[in-house]
Symmetry: C3
Subunit: 259 residues, 3 copies
């Protein structure tokens, strides 16, 4: 069974950055299988990267090594880390990329990558993906001991996450966290935040959706629908349309559930 | 030899949908090799997906499992299916995605996927790619019996395909089926539709191409050329240019061959 | 250890071109691992392809087979070739794609691919990627003898590369070679061209950068920085911004270093 290394970056694929990382991984661990998760995280958008890897990683088997590089602070004091959770390993900069992973699964242990054995001989100050994260991930996939990466990290860097507002009775105030390729606007209101889903309305801009559906196809083509999507968060969609464009919904747009 | 699972979707890679499917496949069949065919099928465009998988799949070896998810009807009554053709297996929604595959190779057998053993324990009504199609494809790659997926499907859903018009003598009326990345406009007129290719002209918009060439380079840079492309369909191209932009050719644009 | 075939093309992934090549490779060499390097080389841009493969390939292990297809001259007299360098093999059209590879590593041997055993039975005049380059690469990965591809090529086609201008004392005149996804403008001025990096200025448009930094984070967010990037070429960047957009820098824009 080949060890599995996944790649999540904001590098796109027009430039040789991802390709270089793949070369480094194959050079250090020739039998590794590499899975591209995404190279289309918006440039330098740590929040989107953090959301992405939390949702994607949970479907992978134990033993997977996730190499995640969205790294606007490359070459500054921010630390390179390796973290263990769910029997998987995450290799990334300590800039908040694991914020949503930790919400779902407590990290078992986090190490600062300082062992030069697991780095390229010379380190570019602009591309740690190639010179630190890829070699560390490949070495871990190849069986290097997690504890050998370096000292423990005490306090993980976390992004500030917008919390739900519950300051008015019967109202839960959330925001759009992510707009997907189909224009579906996915909020931070989880299925478990709404134990009783009868007689509730979803408000955003000056729109109202009168109930929560199960599937996009529960409404007519072109109609607006609110439902709990595949990650169990409330989303606003237009059946076979693009809700984001239609209603100008973006990350940060306010959405309220009223009962 | 690792079993091979290919992925064709309209999910793009900015969202965690494809990544989740890869995790599911690796979890069910750790030794599978996964080949990304495309995640850039235009959103919810079953026609483009159907054309794509027919052209791509025929180059793969027997035993390949193709997982194809362009699924605007997810969560509705449309059925999840597995189909055998050419010694390969196709796993997809029954919404017309196999229309062009069946034109080239008759399907040997189609099963409705109902066996819960080959699905995720809970099924999201918005993402069957992750909860039904990926696990079924992985299980088949891992050796699960095709017959165990579920009952036979009797009537496959097919897209309505525009036929060639031959109502005027000496004229074959076709349309553009697909515009590729280079702006080449690929029609539904097959090489075999034109047994005699001497003294024929290609008409579109108010343009005329006076003969059919063999290669783009048969005409000067910037000149327009008609030729039978790599799938043996007539295409209109501009040598080192973009015919689609230059002549406003799109899917559905009319093209006539006159002799 | 599976043999490794990498793919670099300008095909994008909306069309079935890359997928067809993958099918051909898996059909000829079922145990090969395929690594996508890029399919987003700008259409027909041999210069960008040549730059890309030189930078990406050097990170791969010996034994890797690189299949590189940016091929505006497909179907014309330009030759299909296989070249050995650094213990790796490059399979591509002889149109200049190896220009930058040869600058870094002399080619050990170049062969013209003429042996029909390593081609598809019929050859489309519009898609040699599928019918010549993919089968040749797969056969080489599968152990076919390099010498069996065909006769030696004597003179490799090379792109004309803009050289540095040094006609004024204390001034090195270069140009932007590539703009990356982050808007960083990467020049043809190499670290080794500037043995003394004290007291130098970088000029472009009517801008001046007064010194060379080590990392993007050496300047404030939004400030302009010049540094030697991950490939040791001078680049102009805006910290967490887009220098290309901000200063209208493109391939060919002039950049001078003055001391």
């Amino acid at each position: 069974m080949p060890p599995l290394v996944t790649l999540t970056t904001d590098f796109g694929t027009r430039d040789p950055y991802v390709a270089s990382m793949k070369g480094v991984i194959h050079s250090r661990c020739a039998h590794a299988a590499i899975a591209d998760l995404s190279h289309e995280i918006p440039p330098q958008d740590v929040f989107e990267g953090a959301l992405f890897i939390a949702q994607a990683s949970k479907w992978f088997p134990p033993g997977t090594v996730h190499c995640v590089v969205v790294d606007p602070g490359v070459g500054t004091a921010r630390l390179p880390i390796a973290a263990r959770a769910r029997g998987q390993i995450f290799v990334c900069p300590d800039n908040g990329l694991l914020t949503f992973v930790t919400r779902e699964s407590p990290l078992d242990e986090v190490r600062i990558i300082t062992n030069k054995q697991f780095m390229h001989a010379t380190i570019s100050q602009t591309f740690h993906g190639r010179d630190i994260f890829a070699p560390a991930a490949a070495s871990l996939a190849d069986g290097a001991a997690f504890e050998g990466m370096g000292e423990r990290l005490n306090a993980l860097t976390l992004l500030e996450i917008p919390e739900l507002r519950r300051d008015r009775p019967g109202v839960i105030g959330g925001i759009v966290m992510h707009v997907d390729r189909f224009g579906n606007a996915i909020t931070n209101i989880h299925r478990s935040d709404l134990p009783d889903r009868r007689d509730i309305q979803v408000h955003f801009n000056s729109e109202v959706i009168e109930s929560i559906s199960e599937a996009y196809g529960d409404v007519a083509v072109g109609a607006t629908v609110a439902l709990f999507g595949s990650s169990d968060y409330l989303e606003i969609a237009v059946h076979r349309g693009d809700a984001s464009k239609h209603f100008d919904l973006r990350r940060g747009s306010r959405v309220e559930v009223r009962s």
